[in-house]
Amino acid sequence: MIRALKLEWLKIRNYRLFWILIGMYLIAILVIASGGGLFLEWLKREGVNFNGIDPTIVPIYDFPDIWQNIAYLGSFNKILLAFIVIISVNNDVVYNTMRQNVIDGISKTEFLLSKMSFIVAMAVISTLFLFVAGLVNGSVYSHVWGAEYIFDKTEFLAAYFYDILVYCTLAFLLSLIIKKAGFVIIALFLYTIMFEPIATAIFQNAPYFKDGIMPGIVQYLPIKSLNSLIPFPFSRYVFMEIDDFVPLKAMISSTVWFAIYLFSIVFILNKRDLK
């Protein structure tokens, strides 16, 4: 496993675009984790209030709620990590180095393993980073303190990790199928933020569909499954609705997609002649 990861590291460590994207990602996480207070200040200045409550006293940084809050917001940035995966796989395809790697003495399974260990490593690092960012902000702003609060609800960190893992595996699969990196990036980006959410909204709300089976089906679409891992947390501050657990249904459908992606990658790698 370490050998597989080191192979990927040798390929990527002198690649400037990788460092730019990783940098952007980490900055984005920092902004999201630390920017909530500023955002509430801004709301206050704009004269917004929640039923007469001053926005700045909304306890978004309180343990353990902070984990769900920052995991929810942070998970939107996974697309940057997916771009890194797309570029890394695409390089090996267009430069023919995947073939050269095989000729030099790895199996296609080892190639898969090296890309997957790279994805796992990125997911681990960004989860740790999110954890540290949450810990720092929580220690500054949280109204409660103590291990029983801090380490409660950390399953959202695990969900965050899993979200990145599955999403990047999808990116891996797509960049094996489509050889133009730019096209994959645009397609995945649009699908994630527009096509699927809009399609989902239509099927759930349009008069013709909403009473049929479609609303039930669209919850299991690839992006919807992943997004459901970390439910929208902020309704608890407004509507006092509490969805503070990782839904089992989302876990199962994400895992099914994960398995589909992996099997497809193995299938393509074994089937395709590397010419």
Binding site: K6, L7, N14, Q100, V102, I103, D104, G105, L274
Partner: protein
């Protein structure tokens, strides 16, 4: 002799085209084995299959008497068609990746870069290299683990005349260390100069196999003629280097024993008082043989 590679009835079909058809081949240790054939005869496809980048439709192959193929490849240095490296990495960084895959350590990187004349440019990015330099880097990469077997697909592609001569000498050098080389080429001159054995493919079918020596065996032949042909023929009977003699038209074709050349014949005849009016050393070229073989199977 130790078996290096054994191919059994290997086949590959691309759509309507049968690229390789039930190919049988055996390469033993120390051979420099040339795979010849016109463009599109299945040479690269065959090499692709034994390196597991092209999946065969049928047949099997075995490396080193049944070593697992992926492990075997770590002990094979290969060049397959175009050089493939990470353009944004330098020569050294690219070779580090190869060394990591081959699990062979990085201490030979400088040695092989010097060997192919790239040492000066070792810290330049691959994308800044000319075609010839890229080809040299793939040769360096193939030699990196000091492997007992080399697979070379058109190794002199893209090289200048000097580079071709250098690579040819390099191959001879490597072969003289007792290493096995499997080489695909359509440059017959190249094969003739370095190979010990060869086979000819045509439309994926092996139409000939043999040693270069056997095929070009009668290379030590001299064509002679003088004014008095009868006297010449009689005298040559006592020439110590004579293997056989054959009269064709107005010339005698003399097959010589090893270590005898046209020089000794000339000297011998001169001492016998015969002045030669014609003295031509016959050379069989692989090109001639190759065209003959192809024609026979047309």
């Amino acid at each position: 002799m130790e078996n290096v590679l054994k191919i059994n009835s290997l086949s590959k079909r691309f759509g309507r085209i049968q690229a390789v058809d039930k190919l049988d081949l055996e390469v033993t240790q120390g051979q420099v084995f040339g795979i010849l054939g016109p463009n599109g005869s299945g040479k690269t496809t065959t090499l692709g299959m034994i390196l597991e980048v092209v999946a065969p439709n049928g047949g099997t192959f075995q490396w080193f008497n049944n070593v697992k193929a992926v492990e075997a490849r770590k002990n094979i240095g290969s060049i397959l068609e175009t050089p493939s490296f990470y353009p944004y990495l330098t020569a050294v960084q690219n070779l580090r990746i190869a060394a990591h895959i081959k699990q062979c350590g990085t201490d030979r990187i400088e040695t092989v870069l010097k060997l192919v004349g790239l040492f000066e440019r070792k810290d330049d990015k691959f994308k800044t290299y000319s075609l010839g330099m890229k080809q040299r880097l793939s040769i360096a990469s193939a030699l990196l683990s000091d492997p007992p077997v080399l697979i070379l697909d058109e190794p002199t592609n893209g090289l200048d005349p000097q580079g071709i001569a250098e690579v040819r000498n390099l191959i001879k050098d490597i072969a003289s260390q007792g290493k096995t080389i499997i080489m695909a080429s359509h440059l017959l001159d190249e094969v003739q100069k370095v190979c010990t054995h060869f086979c000819v493919l045509r439309k994926g079918i092996k139409i000939h196999q043999g040693s270069v020596e056997d095929t070009l065996g009668e290379i030590n032949r001299v064509e002679v003629a003088s004014l008095d042909m009868d006297k010449l023929e009689k005298s040559l009977g006592s020439f110590p280097g004579l293997e056989s003699v054959q009269k064709t038209g107005n010339s005698l074709f003399v097959a010589l024993k090893p270590d005898f050349t046209s020089l000794e014949i000339n000297d011998f005849c001169f001492k016998q008082g015969i002045v030669l009016k014609k003295l031509v050393t016959q050379t069989n070229s692989l090109e001639k043989e190759f065209l003959k073989i192809l024609k026979e199977h047309d």
